[in-house]
């Protein structure tokens, strides 16, 4: 009798060398087959941290590295920590592993900027890949007809077992535990490290969520602190934000030119469906960072001066400078600056940009407020659950803080060029409080 596909194991365990987890172990045939699909392999061509490599040159790691890492963390949890516990349903094991491996499958190149400009959502594409006519879907369907839908539901957080969802997506989940460590490793910063082994050992499955034994509180404090530090030191680095601003503006400009029926010297075939707002899965899967960089290089030679200039800035890392900006006191100043930029022939839509902390896809730890986000719960010796910030003064101190941040980005080199509009540019520099030297 042949073994069911869902239970099939490889004859020999496969291992991938990994700088964060040392080894990633694969025994399940399903997982091995998913890794080999072209949709999963596409993640090799998309950097995990988008434009961060322009600030931290080591940050070249891919979405594939991270996806394997999340899979490995879940594998350790379900095989080493949860196995044989009465609150854990062993029949959910393969589903958890597949959802972990595929949770970022729909990410595109520089997806944060792309999603903003073209009104896309990578989670919708994750679902489309899992449920559509793809190699990933073929593999998942061999487990059972309903299995692709289940995997998609776990990733979309609409599966009916919240415990499985919280393993992959909650305030202390495998996704965050991997990316914090991986991003710290590849950027080379000394933040982002915490004792994951300890956290994994004290995770406990409960009816609707995964909780932490109270004896592991200090390891979790470390995790929350590293999340906080990575946010300000890496994810929200002002130089990375500058490159992100330029990238977003390039896409805006290309879209605007297309709407104006501008004739591109190089037909942007890969972008046409995005410009028209009709992106199919096939179009989407063709995109990766190499394709985008190809167009940016081509657009350096375009007739349109704005597109040409922005692309040249991105390719050659000639980024915008910034000043701190307080919208509550300075929004009138912004109106004045917009007017002066126009007078100086610098379109403020592209050359004067406010970037706010809310523009970033990362968040802090938040205790539950009106039940919107499930907080991290500690399992006390009495069996009672207590929210983390009520037990930990350290977490309480940083989770209550509402630090927000706004910066105003501008092209200093163009403002310093006094061959045109000298007086106006001097006025701009004075308002920005920027020295001409």
């Amino acid at each position: 009798m042949t073994m069911k596909y869902s239970n099939q194991k490889l004859q020999e365990e496969k291992v991938f060398k990994d700088p964060v987890h040392r080894y990633i172990h694969v025994r399940d045939q399903v997982i091995w087959d998913l890794i080999g699909t072209k949709e999963f392999q596409r993640l090799r061509r998309i950097r995990q941290l988008g434009t961060t490599y322009l600030t931290f040159h080591g940050a070249e790691h891919s979405r594939l590295n991270h996806s394997l890492g999340v899979y490995e963390i879940i594998r350790r949890i379900v095989d080493d920590v949860f196995a044989n516990r009465p609150e854990w349903d062993e029949s959910e094991r393969l589903l958890s592993l597949c959802a972990a491996l595929l949770h970022d499958l729909g990410h595109g190149p520089y997806s944060h900027s792309f999603e903003k400009v073209f009104d896309l959502d990578h989670e919708v594409f994750t679902q489309a890949i899992i449920l559509g006519d793809t190699e990933v879907n073929q593999v998942l369907k061999r487990v059972s007809r309903s299995f692709p839908q289940k995997v998609s539901d776990v990733i979309a957080k609409t599966y009916d077992n919240n415990q499985i969802i919280s393993l992959i997506s909650s305030q202390i989940d495998a996704d965050r535990m991997d990316y914090l460590q991986r991003d710290a490793y590849f950027t080379g910063v000394s933040y982002g490290h915490f004792d994951m082994e300890r956290i994994l050992r004290v995770l406990r499955p409960r009816e609707d969520q995964v909780v932490i034994k109270s004896s592991g509180m200090h390891a979790v404090e470390d995790y929350i602190m590293s999340r906080y530090q990575m946010y300000w030191q890496v994810y929200f680095h002002p130089v990375t934000r500058s490159s992100e601003v330029i990238l977003t503006k390039i896409l805006h400009r290309a879209k605007e030119l297309s709407e104006m029926n501008y004739e591109f010297a190089y037909e942007p075939m890969h972008f046409v469906s995005m410009f028209e707002g009709k992106v199919t899965l096939k179009d989407y899967l063709k995109l990766d960072e190499s394709v985008i960089m190809y167009y940016f290089q081509m657009w350096e030679d375009e007739k349109d001066p704005i597109l040409r200039d922005l692309c040249s800035r991105f390719i050659n890392r000639n980024l915008f400078k910034y000043v701190e900006f307080d919208p509550s006191k300075e929004y009138k100043k912004l109106n004045k600056l917009e007017q002066l930029f126009s007078e100086a022939d610098l379109d403020p839509e592209y050359y004067l940009v406010v970037d706010s902390s809310s523009d970033l896809p990362y968040d802090f730890y938040r205790p539950g407020e009106e039940e919107e986000r499930v907080p991290i719960h500690l399992l006390m010796p009495s069996g009672e659950l207590r929210e983390l910030s009520r037990q930990s003064e350290i977490v309480d101190a940083i989770s209550g803080k509402r630090r927000t941040d706004h910066k105003l980005y501008y092209p200093k080199d163009l403002l310093m060029d006094d061959s045109t509009h000298k007086e106006t540019k001097e006025k701009i520099l004075a308002i920005l409080g920027v020295s001409e030297h």
Partner: protein, 167 residues
Amino acid sequence: MMKDHARLMQAFSALGEIVGRKKLQKIIFIAKKHNYAFHEKYQFHFFGPYSEELTLRVEELCNMGFINEYNEKKSGYYQYRYEVTEEGQAFLDAQNEAVSEKLEPFLKNLNEQSSRFLELVSTLLYFDSLEGDSQIEKVKKVKAKQNYTDKELDEALTYIKQLNQLV
């Protein structure tokens, strides 16, 4: 410039006073689903559609002093109440953003509903790509703990039809 913040300020101004973060989250989601220009990204959370971006933007507006957030202790949790400040109104007046005349009555209508009801309406809308019974089944599954009755579900579906006429 700061268009997304300005649009939220327009919503706060139209709503007058809004009680509860959950209610605010659901109102903006429902308005967005009806093609009003809110760009905050939503995901499904344990209690329905939720936007981290919206939470952050509201925090920024509070820090800027454009809206006041009052915190009231209810049984076992805190409830938040929002109002536009004078500075916030001045910021709004300085913007050149055109507002649809229909936005205010649309938001006010939503604000008159209970938070529980809006949670149901927004969840139904979140799954509106599913057809007929599958949509209802999905909502019943993900909202099992809220124990919505068939009557509430019917009312929510009728309300969604009414909302379509307000756009």
